[in-house]
Symmetry: C2
Subunit: 204 residues, 2 copies
Amino acid sequence: MGITERREAEKEAVRNKILYAAGKILARDGYESLSIRKIANEIEYSPGVIYHYFKDKAEIIATVVEEGYGRILQKLREIPVDLENPDKSIENSMKAYIELMLETPEQFKAVLLNDTVGIADKVNMLDEGISKERKSIQSLCRMIQHGIEIGKIREMDIELTAQIIWTSTHGLLSRLVLEKRIPKEQKERLIDHHFNILLKGLSK
Amino acid sequence: MGITERREAEKEAVRNKILYAAGKILARDGYESLSIRKIANEIEYSPGVIYHYFKDKAEIIATVVEEGYGRILQKLREIPVDLENPDKSIENSMKAYIELMLETPEQFKAVLLNDTVGIADKVNMLDEGISKERKSIQSLCRMIQHGIEIGKIREMDIELTAQIIWTSTHGLLSRLVLEKRIPKEQKERLIDHHFNILLKGLSK
DNA sequence: ATTTGTATTGAACAGTGTTTAGTTAAATAA
DNA sequence: TTATTTAACTAAACACTGTTCAATACAAAT
């Protein structure tokens, strides 16, 4: 069974080459100028071959973004949770999320632009029964829960609250990513004020 | 001078036909499938003629969205302001904004998707010295200011606060527009909880 | 050595935004 | 009135795009 194994590894290798090239182009040239022919050129294959590995362009983007986004959410989960100050933990997590997303803005744009069909379907849907984003939301939920228990956060629907933290922070992030030429100082002021209002909104 | 006047009116008419067709296609077929040739076909002209009236496709989209967005912001400004309850006024305004945007989701997508270069440049930049969005932000600013004066809103940077209200609500809106198949009931719960947290965050 | 199966190619199809040479018609000047 | 200028418009072309598909090359199995 060594032969089919190797062949499968070769196939996997080409698949990864495609994904790597796509990610490279995405970061280098931007979302708008990512094309099948550019990927084919980059990996030195003919354009047609890509369709033996992926259904269509959307699937490639979805996979690339899923992986990159997955890594971000993974890092997010590695941030230590301060049980004494769940409010500060929420702020730290979401600030880290913002910073990680700002490191790969083209990826964030791809998340935003892709109709949420290809991507959010992949990101939100089950991965080992539960998606990575859901895991992050759940992590947020635990912080909120704990905050309520120790009386630092007022009683409210936990899941709903986590979603509002998520969406409102995404709104801020959109502005930071899409709107060019905001001075760095102003960006920081926006981020700080966002959490100022948000945490006050959660507090008792 | 009746001749040049008429010719200018004719030119304006064709220009408006292009914009009308673009808006129609945008609403009917969606942002992704809006093309120059489709516009040309709709108005029964050759594709090339469009470039006598607009620099490029982005300018058409920017103009269409600018007008539609302008109408929304206009309606927003017509909403009466309750001086007794500036917090309720903020909520009402932003809720109306959400509802108006959900009426023309493809337009909102175009705002989101267009890199903010073509559009936010147009929307944010001066229109009679000050942009429509800035006017809406200013209207928000006045509510916040009044809220602070009568002691219903805690003291904080007014402009910054208005921007956070705007961005966080935009984040919620993105989710409502892009994410399909959210039950109407869940949408309302999200909206209510968003303003629940936001207004608490503003309060003293 | 021949068959089988699959990875790969390159051309083709239908579409995109944009440019441009050439036509047409109308407004102005002689 | 005739000639000239100006502007609108067309059709074709260019350089792309995603996607499909018949033909091919090539490694593995018989």
